[in-house]
Subunit: 488 residues, 2 copies
């Protein structure tokens, strides 16, 4: 059918760009950067052309007219293709170009501003990007508030009000839990034995463990990059990356567990539907639920290390001097950081609550750009109990706004909530719980494959969570998890 062929062709273009983008991050010689950007931009232009073409529109209309509803997946695919087509077509080329210019200027300005901790030099760029974000929100339309329209890009079918309600429920307990975790951790300082933890041995152990939780190295790889990521180069080709710290092997390992969680999701999608909604990942909040589940619920659990600690000691003999309990205390250490990307599990979501609130108020027009630093510091003090020493460690720390990424941060915490809710639901099955307690994760992976991966993107995230767990999205499982790991 022409519309499905075009959807698959779009995936061919996007995945080709993913190959080229992967190489850019892993193996690109320094002088090759400029031309590489032009290759990616050519592919991106072809994808945009196809995604917004009159012919695609006619094919979609024809398919909709022909659909008699006999095949529910097909009907769902048409509905989702319509949704994304309509969204793409609402944004004029002129606005895409304007945003591209604005972000390219803003990224430079942000990097400079952060270096000098000078918010005022970044403010005009943020003002421009905020304006563009509101223009887009108006073009897409929304029922509640502008943030809704942006959130829809990342977490479709999820309202800002629903997120706010979850976060409001999360906030007070999270703040208490975090404070208790930081206190408990300070009372029992524990350090890894001195390195070096040789990179080659880290690579071997990471590979062993990633394969152990079910990552298929015949359909993927791990390479090295400055910023770890997971990218899909084809239905059977998922590339993970990590970075190495010779003084702490857990840094690369938990990076790999996180990215492997994303990768297991991608490899669990129906490969024959690659490029169709039924073969696509659903949302960032669902994606992040998979990475956080494997990273934190599996990877930081006692059962996991009961099984893997001997292999870690074999790889790094100096660990023999560190009892397992101390190693676990090391994995569960908590501390307040001004910097989100350095935050631990117990304090991470405080950073997200802050950003969600600031972005939402900016988009509503309630928080002028000039007042962002003050609002940030006030919000931060309220959550963490102290103020960041300077804006470079406050409102200037993240690159996202300079890339036009408003409406995005919330999905990190939605991922954490979803991960806990899914893990708890899966463990309702005693066979899964027993296996997890023996560090056998095949039954857990099978449950995720069935309940999450195989579902593709033909259902909204809140409905998927309800379908998989029997409950609407809620912070209860997550708070329970944090309490039992960090407070009790």
């Amino acid at each position: 059918m022409p519309i499905l062929e075009k959807a698959r062709e779009l995936a061919l273009i996007h995945s080709s760009a993913a190959v080229i983008g992967w190489d850019q991050e892993t193996y690109l010689p320094p002088e090759a950067a400029a031309y590489r950007a032009s290759q990616l931009s050519w592919l991106s232009a072809r994808a945009h052309e196809l995604a917004t073409s009159e012919q695609l529109q006619r094919d979609l209309e024809q398919a909709e007219a022909d659909d008699e509803g006999a095949d529910a997946t097909h009907t769902a695919n048409l509905r989702e293709l319509r949704r994304s087509f309509d969204r793409s077509r609402r944004i004029p080329v002129e606005l895409v170009a304007r945003e591209s210019t604005a972000t390219s200027l803003a990224k430079h300005a942000w990097a400079e501003a952060r270096k000098r901790s000078d918010f005022t030099s970044f403010a005009p760029h943020l003002q421009t990007l905020l304006g563009i974000a509101r223009e887009k929100a108006d073009l897409w339309g929304y029922d509640g508030e502008p943030y809704d329209a942006l959130l829809e890009c990342y977490e479709r079918g999820t309202s800002t009000a629903a997120v706010a309600a979850l976060f409001d429920e999360l906030r007070p307990t999270l703040r208490e839990t975090a404070a208790a975790a930081v206190e408990k951790s300070a009372a029992r300082p524990v350090h890894l034995p001195d390195g070096p933890y040789p990179i080659e041995r880290q690579q071997k152990l990471n590979q062993l463990i990633a394969a152990g939780i079910g990552f298929n190295f015949n359909a993927g790889r791990i390479d090295t990059t400055t910023h770890p990521f997971c990218t899909t180069l084809g239905p059977r080709d998922v590339r993970l990356t990590t970075r190495y710290d010779e003084s702490d092997f857990t840094s690369s390992l938990f990076g790999v567990l996180h990215e492997a969680g994303h990768g297991l999701y991608e490899l669990g999608l129906p490969a024959s539907d690659f490029g169709l909604p039924s073969g696509s990942a659903l949302s960032l909040g669902i994606h992040e639920s998979q990475s956080r589940l494997w990273e934190n619920h599996v990877g930081r659990s006692r059962a996991f290390w009961n099984h893997w600690y001997p292999a870690a000691i074999e790889a790094f003999p100096q660990l023999a001097s560190l009892p397992l309990d101390d190693f676990l205390a090391y994995l569960w250490r908590a501390n307040y950081s001004t910097i989100r990307v350095e935050a631990d599990e117990a304090t991470y979501d405080l950073h997200i609550l802050l950003r969600f609130d600031i972005e939402r108020r900016m988009l509503r027009g309630e928080l002028p750009v000039a007042d962002v630093p003050a609002a940030w510091n006030e919000g931060f003090r309220d959550l963490f109990g102290f103020t960041p020493p300077r804006d470079s460690e406050g409102c200037l720390q993240d690159i996202h706004w300079s890339m036009g990424g408003l409406g995005y941060f919330a999905t990190y915490s939605l991922g954490n909530l979803n991960a806990a809710q899914l893990f708890t639901a899966a463990r309702q099955d005693p066979a899964i719980a027993d296996a997890c307690d023996r560090a056998d994760y095949a039954p857990l992976l099978a449950w995720l494959r069935r309940n999450i991966h195989a579902q593709g993107a033909t259902i909204d995230p809140p409905a998927l969570i309800r379908q998989a767990t029997g409950e609407p999205p809620s912070p209860h499982a997550y708070l329970g998890h944090l309490k039992s790991r960090y407070v009790l």
Copy 2:
């Protein structure tokens, strides 16, 4: 100018495919192969579409009409774009598709036939591909014989008769030189000290030496593949590959020197003209001249190893027991092999003479496909003095015919002839000769940059050789080189 923009866009598509093809050979997970093929085929279809489009034709006509000849490079670019456009347009899409199907069947049939040394099962495929090659030759047209039209794909502006004349001059002396070299080598058997030669140390030495001859690792890399190659991913991005034999470090090293020769050429082309004829490599015979020059004339020379042997000994201490003279004798060993890809410098071209003769007769219709094995064995005996024990080591050994690659082999020997002629001409400058004798190759590279690389593809190969060396293409320098290295 629209026509130049389209030429550059074509280069964007081809080089994007090169990135994807490079990844396919270096890092592709096994299960990813099928989808990867569809990504490459999408890009290839886009390139074909653009290269043969009516719009491109109109743009070219417009540019030709507008050209007043004030800029010689521009005029030459238009002439070359016209040449390649006219050639592309002469081959109907139907024939391209038919050839693609035929080669895909033939490659499987060839692999099976070689395994069982069963020429008759491959013969019908060769018959089909020969038919297609003759169809293409007829569509392109030729003055002398069908081989001319095919050779033009690889070595434009070079007639079959001219190649035959060079090869006729080469043959008798080459046969004698090869025989003498094999005899001399047998009289002084020499072996490398036992391995292992650890791969990591091979990699470091290769990198050191490649950088030493001028390969820029800020604009390129070396990775590992089953079959070594050099590919261009952008004007400042040239990737070399090699393979490692832990019992013989010279295998990967000479692979790297060969591919680095190709890479130095690619990186020496005018980068600002990437995608235009004036920024493109000229022909296979010129490309191979660069790889063979660095591999054989530089890399197998005494001066080179006077300089680099201490570094090799440092990397592989067991070499300390092997005097430099013995190491050189090892590099200069010669032996008859039935297999072309295992042949040494002294005997390699015998394989090419044989294939050139067989292909030419097939294309003229003078040699029926069924008679190829007998003709092969007879020709082989005439050149090597013995007969291959079976067709799998004879006419079935190479993959090229099964890929439709008729008219291609000759360029390997043209490369050898060109390499010797260029190296000899460059050494006419005493400063270059002196520097080479001290293993300082910067002046030689500068000469190649100026006389070969900077010239791009706006002149025919025989004219380029004449312009660079003052003489028409000739086998004299090459025969002189072989005699002095292998006989004297």
